[in-house]
């Protein structure tokens, strides 16, 4: 069946719009890389879209990595993102499985509570969270951030995984129990491996959110050695008023963008399905 646009002028106009928008997305990425190779002089003398002069200043990358301690921020971000994704997935999957398969008094209310929490602005919890973490001596610690981020991704994980577990046939568990497996064995050896696609989807969406998180990071961390990448980017930008180092700033942006971009390129489909599942709450 032939559809699409019949009028060629309209068709090319639409193409032009799509190309322009694509350019508006790709160009800033390219220009982040190009600007990371310039020195201040080039920023002030040349047009912003000018290519960097030769020799290219690859040293901006190592400069940011060493002098701005990006090696440790990078590591902090990786530890925190990994820790809260794994813990969040374990806690969400166990609860989601029970909510999807077993009825017990209050199970419906519990599910509603998790769902309703997605409606509450997280910023309302920010002030008490600061004092809670302070009283638990978890300010400026990776554990503190891991705990808060884990909690913040629970509702989304439960929502997606309840749907996923419900879509798996019940006969699988019945067969497993008949074979003499315990409830725990059934869950960990049968159901969890089968729900891998759902788990991966939730994990990726969580990784992207936690890696990019800024505001909780700023509030719960004020010790520069414990910053995550986005927090350091915020600090660096604020410092630009006093010492302008545009090249290194763009190198820093580049380090922050590249990991999520790689995750996105590899897992595109999963991210799209996670979004479609998560937005219809």
């Amino acid at each position: 069946m032939k559809s699409g646009i019949r009028n060629p002028i309209v068709k090319y106009a639409f193409y032009a719009i799509l190309c322009l928008w694509g350019l508006s997305v790709l160009y800033p990425l390219l220009w982040t890389l190009l600007d990371a190779l310039k020195n201040n002089d080039q920023f002030f003398r040349h047009l912003p879209w000018a290519l960097p002069d030769f020799p290219l200043l690859w040293s901006n990358f190592s400069y940011v990595w060493d002098r701005y301690n990006f090696d440790s921020y990078f590591l902090n971000s990786i530890v925190i993102t990994t820790g809260s994704t794994v813990l969040g997935l374990l806690l969400a999957a166990t609860t989601a499985y029970v909510l999807a398969r077993y009825k017990f008094p209050g199970s419906g209310a519990l599910y509603l509570l998790y769902m309703a929490s997605m409606m509450v602005p997280f910023i309302l919890a920010l002030i008490p969270l600061f004092f809670l973490m302070n009283s638990m001596h978890l300010i400026n610690t990776k554990i503190g951030l891991i705990l808060v981020y884990t909690s913040s991704v629970l509702a989304f994980g439960i929502f997606v995984l309840v749907g996923f577990f419900k879509s798996l046939p019940k006969e699988l568990e019945e067969a497993s129990i008949m074979d003499g497996a315990s409830y725990f064995g059934t869950f960990f050896r049968v159901m969890l491996p089968l729900s891998q696609p759902g788990l991966i989807t939730v994990a990726i969406v969580n990784v992207l959110n936690i890696w990019n998180e800024y505001i909780v990071g700023t509030i719960l961390v004020n010790d520069p050695t414990q910053y995550t990448l986005p927090v350091e980017i915020g600090v660096m930008q604020a410092e630009m008023q006093y010492r302008t180092e545009w090249g290194p700033l763009f190198a820093a942006l580049f380090f922050t963008i590249v990991p999520v971009l790689l995750v996105y390129i590899v897992f595109q489909r999963r991210i799209a399905s996670g979004i479609t599942a998560g937005a219809v709450k």
Partner: protein, 300 residues
């Protein structure tokens, strides 16, 4: 019939799978939210031990504060601007990439989503560079058409700076809603469009009579989602790009909360702003749902 021990095993299993998650959730989500409501009734600097219970005085003080009204206005300005900007473009892209048989549709779809995986902090810094008065793109571009070098301080006008925050917010938000609408359009049975084609209905007619009514649910979800995320989260981009300035002109409720609590140590007042955000987003959700339901009846 289950035996006694099997029943007990089942209970233990359920408890072990439910309780740790719930305990976690109570401690790091429910408790802070409840405490936030509670703090809003106190005059408290955060540093001192003594908190004075003052009931609704924070709210009374808040509503006498001209800045909060400005912040509310800015929040709803961003909601309106983002709903219009994002919905128009996201719908257009979603339709273009599904119904127009463009080659490269898959490529465009992948590209358009990229801003959604980038941190808001990074987006804020990139757009600050675009707006930079001396070395930014915007002024350099405008200078091509003028004799003198343009040196407009884009983030410096008290009356219009909030407008400058709309482009980055829209640019960063479109991909997510586009993906959502693409999924909705792909769920429409192809036979509907085939029948319309046979009757000679063009793309525009198909869009108005088939696509929009059938994806209206997802459009509604999108509009509600844009509203919620804007009221609850737009302060990050505000904080990175303008810190609420100049002269509080780009303040939104969230950035004002942050400033009051963590810069000026009025934690009780900050918590009251948090409650205001919650109440306004709930009210707006209900109102929008009413409004959009009404229109969907008229459409179908």
């Amino acid at each position: 019939m289950e035996s006694g021990s099997a029943k007990w095993q089942r209970r233990l299993f359920i408890a072990l799978f439910i309780i740790p998650t719930f305990a976690f959730f109570c401690l790091f989500t429910i408790y802070p939210v409840a405490k936030g409501l509670y703090y809003s009734m106190f005059d408290w600097s955060g540093m001192s031990q003594n908190k004075d219970f003052i009931g609704f005085d924070n709210f009374i003080e808040m509503f006498k504060d001209p800045i909060i009204w400005r912040a509310i206005g800015n929040d709803y300005f961003l909601v309106l601007g983002k709903v219009v900007g994002i919905m128009v473009l996201a719908t257009f892209f979603a339709v273009a990439l599904t119904r127009f048989n463009f080659k490269l549709a898959g490529f465009f779809r992948s590209i358009f989503f990229i801003p959604n995986v980038i941190s808001v902090v990074v987006i804020g810094v990139l757009w600050n560079f675009i707006y930079n008065p001396q070395i930014g793109f915007l002024n350099a571009f405008l200078s091509l058409f003028t004799d003198e070098k343009v040196t407009i301080t884009w983030l410096g006008f008290t009356n219009h700076t909030i407008w400058m925050l709309l482009p980055p917010a829209i640019w960063a938000g479109i991909g997510f809603y586009m993906i959502l609408l693409i999924a909705a359009i792909q769920n429409i049975p192809a036979s509907y469009f085939e029948a319309a084609n046979l009757e000679g209905a063009g793309q525009w007619k198909q869009f108005v009579n088939i696509t929009v009514p059938l994806i209206w649910e997802q459009m509604k979800v999108s509009i509600l989602n844009i509203m919620m995320t804007t009221l609850n989260g737009s302060f990050v981009i505000v904080w990175i790009m303008t810190e609420g300035g100049p002269d509080n002109s780009t303040q939104v409720m969230g950035s004002y909360l942050y400033q009051m609590a963590f810069r000026q140590y009025h934690f009780g007042f900050g918590a009251a702003i948090g409650v205001l955000i919650l109440v306004l987003s709930l009210i707006t959700t209900v109102l929008l749902q009413r409004l959009l339901r009404h229109e969907s009846v008229e459409l179908s």
